[in-house]
């Protein structure tokens, strides 16, 4: 199961072609969420889908070299801390917790900065949690076999 590399050349070629466009679409959804549908949650899932596709086609070991497990776990925390950190920063700038108005001299720009940072935190956490879920499910029961 673990190192089973898909024998079909169609799957491996198509997934290689699709990998970069999926991530670019994820980034588009992430940073265009202010203007169209989308945002951190959806973007995180889309980016995670690219990595999950990679590990499904080329095997879990290659997926783990692409996204090492420990780095993935650190990034899970980084996302939540980025979100909570924006709130802490706004406290230090004489605002209330998660009050983005004080992040810039112009309240409207401050809201922009706050929303983009917060959505980025959500995106990072969602993407890494999804990758971690996939790896946990896929590698479950390996040693017992």
């Amino acid at each position: 199961m673990r190192d089973k590399i898909s024998s079909s050349p169609v799957l491996s070629v198509v997934s290689k072609i699709l990998f970069a466009p999926i991530i670019i679409f994820g980034l588009y959804v992430q940073f265009h969420g202010d203007y169209g549908p989308g945002g951190g949650f959806q973007a995180g899932v889309i980016v995670a889908a690219a990595f999950i596709l990679y590990s499904m086609i080329f095997g879990l070991s290659k997926g783990e070299t692409l996204v090492p497990i420990m780095i993935n776990r650190y990034l899970m925390c980084v996302g939540v801390l980025l979100y909570a950190g924006v709130g802490i920063v706004s406290i230090f700038l004489d605002g209330m917790y998660l009050d983005y108005n004080v992040l810039s001299s112009d309240p409207s720009t401050g809201q922009h900065i706050g929303i983009i940072l917060v959505e980025l935190g959500v995106g990072i956490t969602v993407a890494t949690v999804m990758i971690a879920l996939y790896h946990s499910f896929a590698s479950f029961g390996e040693i017992n076999e």
Binding site: V129, L133, F137
Partner: protein, 187 residues
């Protein structure tokens, strides 16, 4: 009229999918049909102009959770059929819940009714002031990240905690895996 026709079509497809989910005995087909079910749900949300919800439903519901369910189903032993042993209690429960839901539906406001309670509380204020203040056209993003920033922080922490729980349950020996492989090789 078109709206109603499309809605009717999609909901009848949902019913057909539900019937086949009930009927099939193989786990993998149930997983695939559930994926189709959530995809139909996201089509219904698009029809209702809830594009953000539809996007989330398509990405999370029919994308990632189908993959995770397939992975989980692949770990289960093969050849076991999904058998319902005693149908009687489940039928009574299902009928009771359907009756309660039908009674509730009669009390719900009509679809798109501007005087529905949900449209009278804070929504008019948000819709009026958010574009001038934030200069961000997507009101959903404004509500999600700014007006309801605490809720979204909570949601992110919930996802984080869920990930931690799954990691702790399923991959308790991930870090020892390499050493275990070496031990197996020695044997």
């Amino acid at each position: 009229m078109n709206f109603l026709l499309i809605n009717f079509f999609l909901i009848s497809l949902l019913l057909v999918t539900t019937f086949f989910i009930f009927k099939t005995t193989s786990l993998i087909s149930v997983v695939a049909l559930t994926g189709a079910f959530t995809l139909l749900c996201s089509a219904i949300y698009v029809n209702l102009d809830a594009v953000d919800v539809a996007f989330t439903e398509a990405a999370v519901g029919s994308g990632i959770s189908t993959i995770l369910m397939v992975m989980a189903a692949a770990k289960l032993p093969e050849g076991k059929k999904n058998k319902l042993i005693n149908l009687f209690p489940s039928i009574i429960l299902a009928v009771a819940i359907s009756l309660i839901l039908i009674i509730i539906i009669a009390n719900l406001p009509l679809l798109g009714d501007p005087n529905a309670p949900i449209h009278l509380h804070v929504v008019p204020e948000y819709l009026k002031e958010s574009k001038d203040f934030f200069h961000i056209p997507n009101v959903v993003t404004n509500i999600l990240a700014s007006y309801r920033g605490f809720d979204t922080l909570g949601e992110t922490i919930v996802i984080f905690t869920a990930g931690l729980g799954v990691i702790a349950l399923l991959t308790s020996n991930t870090l020892n895996r390499k050493t275990n492989f070496k031990k197996n090789k020695k044997k």
